[in-house]
Amino acid sequence: MANPNGIGASVRRREDQRFLTGRGNYTDDFKRLNMTHAVHVRSPYAHARILGIDFADAAAMPGVVAVLTGADMEADKVGSLPCGWQIHSKDGSPMKEPPHYPLARDRVRYVGDAVAVVIAETREQARDAAEMVVVDYEELPAVGSSTRAIAGGAPLVHDDAPDNVCYDWHLGDKAAVDAAFANAAHVAKIDLVNQRLVPNAMEPRAAMGEYDQSSGEYTLTTTSQNPHVTRLLMGAFVLGIPEHKLRVVAPDVGGGFGSKIFHYGEEAVVTWAARKVGRPVKWTADRSESFLTDAHGRDHVSHAELAMDADGNFLALRVSTLANLGAYLSTFAPSIPTYLYATLLAGQYKTPAIYAEVKAVFTNTAPVDAYRGAGRPEACYLIERLVDVAAGVMGMDKTEMRRRNFVPKEAMPYQTPVALQYDTGDFAKNLDIALPLVDYPGFQQRRAESKARGKLRGIGFATYIEACGIAPSNVAGALGARAGLYECAEVRFHPTGSVTVFTGAHSHGQGHETTFAQIVADRFGIPIENVEIVHGDTNKIPFGMGTYGSRSLAVGGSALVKAMDKVERKAKKIAAHMLEAAETDIEVKDGRFTVAGTDKSLGIGDIALQAYVPHNFPLDELEPGLDEQAFYDPKNFTYPNGCHVCEVEIDPDTGVTTIVSFAAVDDFGNVINPLIVEGQVHGGLVQGIGQALYENCVYDEESGQLVTGSYMDYCMPRADDVPSFTVRYHEDQPCTHNPLGVKGCGEAGTIGAAAAVMNAVVDALSDYGVTHMDMPATPEKVWRTIRDAAPAMAAE
């Protein structure tokens, strides 16, 4: 009988018991004897020279333990925050990599850049004193946007990055693309902006540093998606602490969406300061600091052209993108607009030639890095908007346009012209499932009914493919990654048959404590209650690369399977010994070890007990214990893909867009827990819808001030903004190169949704001659578009 809590079961998330009853343990919940509190003094200017810092008054304030500055860090030889990925420009030169100190030394480069830290007995005392720190700034001209950064005569963010360019990179066969355009029957073009977003994890970032004088050991408790990476980056590059003296713990973490992948300066500050003041130091961001200093996402300005033959077959794609990296290079920033973006520009289409250029620039804004989807939503949005424009150029139905150009299932594995090789995917099938869900044939009638009520109705399609399960280390290394991208798991059977799993993946909302336990319960035929998942502590987990890029199950789950394979092999040896049979005669099914052709069998629990009570083990051949560890480095990325369809209705009087329906059909390969997958899709869709209709991180172009620095101005989607989603998936195309056949589901919703919504909005406005609108489609923007077009419509 199948395990009721095994693979494929919609097991309710085990971790929710503590989250929903307020018993989670987040970084800010940890308290230590003699703990102090840190508050950062941050720059109010986007760009300024620091002429001096006077903290005499602050240091004399009640409760103040220390006031520390960049000069103190420099004296202690604290290093720059390292960048984990190196990109080379077209001319072969390496990217510009200016230093990024945890506390600024001579200049501040964005509003929120940390200048000093005040450490006090209480947080309020630290805040009071931080207000008394007087920084003498000489304000400098600022660069508040990527377009301003490359305008002639723009101020330089870093003196050693001429024209504010970090790198000018390209991918693909330019000559082949130029030749295809020369022979094209039709060309579709688009200019678009993929606006900057603030990640807005529910839990603000926090970090607590501790130093044990007797052992020389440091502990950093932090809101991280990958504690081992933080240990490596901070230990080796910033503070010079060897791994065996540095423990990094990422306890319960309330969402990250990418923003907690990176190593941030505050982590180094509290760890360093803990030794400096001889007491634990805790810092917790307030929401304003989150807006100002969490690494932001997206921020592309692009031009794209698609060449077609007379029948609408895609011949070539040409893309030019300007990417804003912010004031400094965040940990993985350079890879996002390059290898996680341009490599996805084939989308689901068999476009034979693609050429992409990406110029990445520094600006006086918060650093930009991976945010849910990371490069892939930008690619999907660009392709899918362009395909809709192309359908308009050709006068062709938008679904037909797509279907005609899909990479056919039979062509798998398919080598794209932009480096990736798709392993599986049946894109036509996704569309075939989606169309009846949205009653596509009935759309024109619904549109007419809306029109009769004075409303504008539109339908939008988006197909997406993403490269997830990041990634094969050898490929990543060849592309500039300075880290490996494998994962590690340890499976420890205890004497009485319960299991502790140690995984290098980190759960901050993904539900690993449930899904990973399901995999183990399924494999060994044991109750899920007997399996505990441990993650997020470098002193407990052998190693790990963390959670991002929808990689936990595809890479971490595969490592878990490898470790279970080892456990099973060992258990088989023990079973053979106990049952006095040859190892080759032992058959294993659902955790039962049976001598073939007999009724002699043992459960894994019996074997585990024997492993730890090895009274008669042949110790030359068989070690006691049942505890195995494995590393898994994938052979390829995984390629989740799908088709999203959105229907909207616009009120032309106000410009308000209402999402009437949204259907998502996804291929995630095999699904471990349908309930969790559906939840991930829902959350992802809302984030994509947020970008399409609501969210926009606005900096003043000249002053570099953050205009949308609170929820009064930064519009987050709310539950009443979205419809009830129709979510379907199929498991016909499992991943071919990992043992679970899984592809990953964490980012898919975000990747497809923005394009589907915007295609629907533009479709609704098509009667007004609208072919594109930049996100977010705010009420005023939509209203103004209609108003400006209306006289023209009347004149026709």
Binding site: E124, D653, T654, Y714, M716, T778, P779, W783, R784, R787
Partner: protein
């Protein structure tokens, strides 16, 4: 938040004495003041919590209209059978303020004394010909709001209650700021016999009456009577969410919707 002395008087007289302290502030539901304090944007020496003063509470029928105590929370107005019966448009306005948490804390007196340009209640005070009673005097609703975050209240003057007239027909329609959910434009339309009042909040620095709309509706109380009418965009608020001309446009749209809803 900076430290302050918290006081919770049980009578209006005690509150009036307490507020004489130099940098004292009155605390109603705290839905604006507390976030302001948390952001360290205000530094009162004393916070005078009005929540324990019985005289400030309660909803009564008065002169055919309603008298609502200043310390009546939005949710109480929204859910009051009396309000629903006498001036249903007022209950409906209250039900649309902020979110559930805000409605459970925020008070009518706090809202009007704060006079946020995008608050909802000011439109009702003006459209429903209200009078505001304080611990010192009575102020006509028309004279109460004097500018952005400014009212006719003198320093230390405490709002006791607000008395609303009962209209024949009334409705409030608002266009919410998608981020903050405050009113970008809110229009309260009320008809008293042959007189119509149209009060607009959100659009300008302070609530104002759209007189041309009132004249048109007095002659013909239908949405179509507003066709071709609009308020001047000049002088209206403009921010990243809505320009002045968009707000001007929305005033007409919301006024029509309010007329339709009023029936």
């Amino acid at each position: 938040m900076y430290a302050f002395t918290y006081q919770r008087p049980t009578s209006l007289a005690d509150a009036a004495t307490a507020i004489q302290a130099e940098e004292a502030k009155l605390l109603g539901g705290g839905q604006t003041l507390l976030p302001t304090l948390k952001q360290r944007l205000a530094r009162p020496t004393d916070l005078i919590d009005l929540g324990a003063i019985a005289e400030l509470k309660g909803i009564r029928e008065a002169d055919g209209g309603l008298e609502i105590g200043a310390f009546t929370r939005h949710a109480e107005v929204a859910h009051s059978d009396l309000v629903k019966r006498v001036i249903p448009a007022l209950a409906s306005l209250a039900e649309g303020i902020g979110d559930r948490q805000v409605r459970n804390m925020g008070t009518m007196g706090g809202s009007i004394a704060n006079a946020d340009p995008s608050a909802d209640y000011p439109s009702a005070v003006v459209a429903l010909k209200a009078t505001v009673t304080t611990d010192r005097r009575t102020i006509a609703g028309d004279d109460f709001f004097t500018g952005m975050f400014e009212t006719a209240l003198e320093p230390g003057e405490i709002v006791k209650s607000v008395r609303f007239s009962r209209p024949d027909k009334a409705a409030y329609a608002k266009f919410r700021n998608p981020a903050s959910r405050y009113a970008i434009v809110g229009v309260f339309v009320a008809r008293f016999g042959g007189e119509v009042r149209v009060a607009v909040t959100g659009a300008a620095g302070s609530v104002f009456r759209a007189e041309a709309f009132e004249t048109a509706l007095a002659a013909d109380f239908r949405a179509d009577a507003l066709n071709g009418l609009s308020v001047e965009a000049d002088g209206l608020n403009a921010d990243i969410h809505a320009s002045a001309d968009y707000r001007a446009h929305l005033v007409t749209v919301m006024a029509k919707r309010a007329v339709e809803a009023a029936g």
